[in-house]
């Protein structure tokens, strides 16, 4: 049971042993009918575009310009361009920093600390702070971007806390600020996952540890954290995926700047396509994103399967 609590994304195990069906194993007309809407919409508006994007990634299509109407297949030209594109490498690096720093580590750690500390907190404080964390997570991305732009502006509270009204947090530490904003918006979800998992830590083990004279730090390191390990892995992966897709936050806060400091791949792909009008190259960058998310997804599924 406890395993199920920390393993999202794996198909729910059937309650009874072995697959149970109402019919014999053959495709029925009813199934076709029920599957038809999804079977048409998903390929037409999701899978086909992804495949079409693969093709467009090898063309010189432009949004506006010489090749907006008459574009052609350009073979490896876009790939060669990408491999010698310094902005692309910088974007990869920034993406890695953002996704790992803010997603895998930042949000997970923040959620973990929240969940653990909440256990010992005064009820009123507990209600208020967990409520705030969840509220932060429910806000739409555009609102999150707005409140963080305000907070990190030169006249905003972060600059005031740095006791330097001339400080300019969003521009001086752009990646740090967008990472904080992203973690701020995701920690509520991680907290919920960890709170749930913490409830399943066997109390007798902790009591036994206390009786044996283990300090609270020792109990944390030896009992609680090892018990939370699967949740930590799950949370880290989920946060990574969610952070990777978090285009809106960065685009609205910094549009990838200043000096490309926050130019993560999804933002770079959008800017190439819709600011510099190179739709073909933009599609290629999108394909790179698909490859990465497929890799991440595989790790996710692999961990889910292997834990069964």
């Amino acid at each position: 049971m406890t395993e199920a609590t920390v393993m999202p994304l794996k198909p729910a195990p059937s309650r009874r042993s072995g697959p149970r069906r109402l019919d014999r194993p053959r495709l029925k007309l009813a199934s076709l009918f029920l599957l038809a809407p999804a079977g048409i919409l998903l390929p037409a508006l999701f899978i086909l575009p992804v495949c079409y994007a693969i093709y467009l990634g090898f063309t010189n299509l432009q949004l506006v310009g010489l090749h907006s109407v008459h574009y052609r297949f350009t073979g490896w030209a876009n790939i060669a361009f990408m491999l010698s594109d310094a902005s692309f490498y910088q974007s990869l690096w920034v993406t890695a920093l953002f996704v790992v720093g803010s997603g895998a580590v930042g949000s997970t750690l923040l959620g973990l600390v929240l969940a653990i500390a909440l256990q010992q907190a005064m009820p009123a404080l507990r209600m208020a702070v967990s409520g705030l964390a969840i509220l932060a997570w429910t806000l739409p991305p555009t609102t999150i971007a707005l409140v963080w732009i305000a907070s990190a502006s030169p006249s905003g509270p972060i600059a005031a806390m740095m006791a330097d009204m001339k400080a300019d947090p969003l521009y001086d530490h752009a990646l740090l600020i967008v990472s904080a904003a992203n973690a701020w918006s995701l920690a509520g979800l991680a907290m919920i996952m960890f709170s749930a998992a913490l409830r399943n830590v066997p109390k007798d083990m902790i009591e036994a540890g206390t009786l044996e004279g283990a300090s609270s730090v020792q109990r944390m390191m030896r009992i609680t954290l090892p018990f939370l390990k699967p949740t930590i892995v799950t949370s880290a992966l989920l946060m990574t995926l969610l952070t990777f897709g978090n285009f809106t936050l960065i685009y609205l806060m910094t549009a990838g700047g200043p000096d490309n400091a926050t130019n993560i791949l999804p933002v770079y792909s959008y800017l190439e396509g819709f600011k510099f009008f190179n739709l073909g190259y933009s599609a290629l960058l999108g394909n790179i994103i698909v490859i990465f998310s497929a890799l991440l997804g595989s790790v996710f599924v692999f961990l889910g399967q292997s834990r069964r």
């Binding site: 949004l63 506006v64 001086d172 600011k275 510099f276």
Partner: protein
């Protein structure tokens, strides 16, 4: 309760008759409105406020529909900052059903849209136009590609130095300061920093976030006054990615940033940087502003953000000097907002009529007041209404600059060069330890990668 079948019948009749009446209404509208001409424009970015934008275009619409009974001028206001406006405009143009017949946009975009074969050449109509004849040649050339006119200016922005006399006198500089070289500007900034350490000695826009237009208002102002201002070499038709001029500009940014003479990055790298200075100058926060013509107009009674009577007493004006004082002595860039007509417009004549209405003196002066631009017809700049838009002498000073300054080349490839140049100056501001060689190298690499190595050149 009606029986079920009967209810169904009632329902379907209602639906049917509703549909039918909508159909009749639609066909009625279609016959009544002989023609609809669509005009797209920036709601938030170009004029001083969305309300003024709406007011101006509603006026044009009323006038058009009075002169063409039965026809409609459909307004398509596009929200967002410069980049979002340009992107959205491109999206509209990409399908024939949404493409506007007329567009009002930055002149630096004309090249791209013309290269996509989206714009109609206007030379024929312009032959008989009375207002076109009066445009100064550089303004005419701004919307011209390969000898054909695709964009006609509606107003120009140009750039000079606006300085705070209080801060300068504190630093021991003359009341009527007039720098002869860029070194003079840096020296003055150093003195200001010493006398008033909390002030921002120089305010100069930089970076890529303002979009292509930002280069006209930032680094381009300096480049146009540098010892070699060439952007697109007319002899070879290649983009200049390394020149004495470019290096001078980068050095200016580097020195100003390294010595802490520039306003904070949030100010000068901001997507809306151009609008930050108006309210800040009255607070005596900035020493020397590389300023657009609209900044003093911000303090007028009509715009009022904030209203500031007699600014001339505390604020001085000077043209941007050339880098080392070489002839012609002053320089700078200008950039305008243009009107273009969609190539496949179903009503090209009506569209042209609408353009003519927008170019009428009263509308042009209103636009100049709303958008804080200089009218392209020189006579209008002597009009009392124009002169009253800001306290003297700023209106005249800025209007005169138009004849000595340079526009950026109208070309589909210009945004690529502009981005590389903005990027290079942004690097110098954020990382002043970068060598100029490296910055130039990066600029050259970017442009030659985007456009092809045969499209760039080094010029000295």
């Amino acid at each position: 309760m009606l029986p079920r079948s009967r209810r169904r019948l009632v329902l379907s009749t209602t639906v049917l008759s509703a549909l039918a009446s909508i159909g009749i209404m639609a066909s009625h509208v279609a016959t009544a409105a002989a023609a609809t001409v669509k005009v797209a424009y920036s709601l938030d970015y170009f004029m001083a406020s969305p309300e003024l934008t709406t007011k101006w275009f509603t006026g044009v619409k009323t006038q058009f529909e009075t002169e063409h009974p039965g026809d409609t001028l459909q307004l398509i206001p596009i929200p967002g900052g410069y980049d979002d406006f340009t992107t959205k405009l491109s999206l509209l143009f990409n399908s024939h059903s949404t493409a506007p017949d007329i567009v009002q946009y930055a002149a630096v975009s004309v090249g791209q849209f013309a290269a996509s074969d989206l714009l109609a050449p206007l030379d024929k109509q312009l032959e008989t136009s009375s207002w076109w004849k009066t445009f100064p040649e550089p303004v005419k050339a701004e919307g011209m590609i390969d000898g054909k006119v695709y964009g006609v200016a509606e107003g120009e922005n140009d750039y000079g130095l606006v300085y705070d006399r209080t801060l300068l006198s504190k630093a021991g500089l003359p009341h009527d300061w007039s720098p002869k070289t860029w070194q003079d500007i840096l020296d003055a900034a150093r003195a200001i920093k010493k006398a008033a350490p909390n002030s921002w000695p120089i305010w100069l826009m930089t970076g890529t976030s303002q979009g292509t237009y930002g280069v006209v208002a930032g680094a381009g102002v300096l480049l146009a006054a540098a010892s070699n201002p060439t952007v697109l070499d007319p002899a070879t038709n290649k983009w200049v990615v390394d020149s004495k001029g470019i290096r001078e500009v980068l050095a200016f940014y580097r020195d100003a940033s390294a010595e802490g003479l520039l306003a904070p990055s949030a100010q000068i790298l901001d997507p809306n940087a151009g609008n930050n200075t108006g309210p800040l100058v009255p607070q005596h926060k900035i020493g020397i502003v590389f300023s657009g013509n609209w900044v003093p107009e911000d303090w007028s009674k009509t715009i009022n953000q904030p209203y500031w009577p007699d600014p001339d007493k505390v604020i001085g004006f000077a043209p941007v000097p050339t880098s080392a004082g070489q002839t012609p002595g002053t320089g700078g860039s200008f950039g305008g907002w243009d009107l273009s007509v969609y190539k496949k417009s179903p009503h090209p004549d009506l569209a042209w009529d609408a353009v003519n209405i927008m170019q009428q003196e009263k509308n042009m002066l209103d636009l100049a007041a709303n958008a804080l631009v200089i009218p392209p017809v020189p006579a209008y700049t002597n009009d009392a209404a124009y002169l009253a838009m800001a306290e003297p002498p700023f209106q005249t000073d800025f209007a005169h600059l138009l004849y000595t300054e340079k526009a950026m080349p109208a070309s589909a490839e210009f945004p690529v060069w502009a981005y590389a140049f903005q990027q290079a100056t942004e690097t110098m501001v954020l990382k002043p330890k970068t060598s100029i060689d490296d910055a130039v190298k990066a600029m050259k690499a970017y442009v030659s990668q985007q456009l092809g190595a045969d499209r760039v050149e080094v010029m000295n």
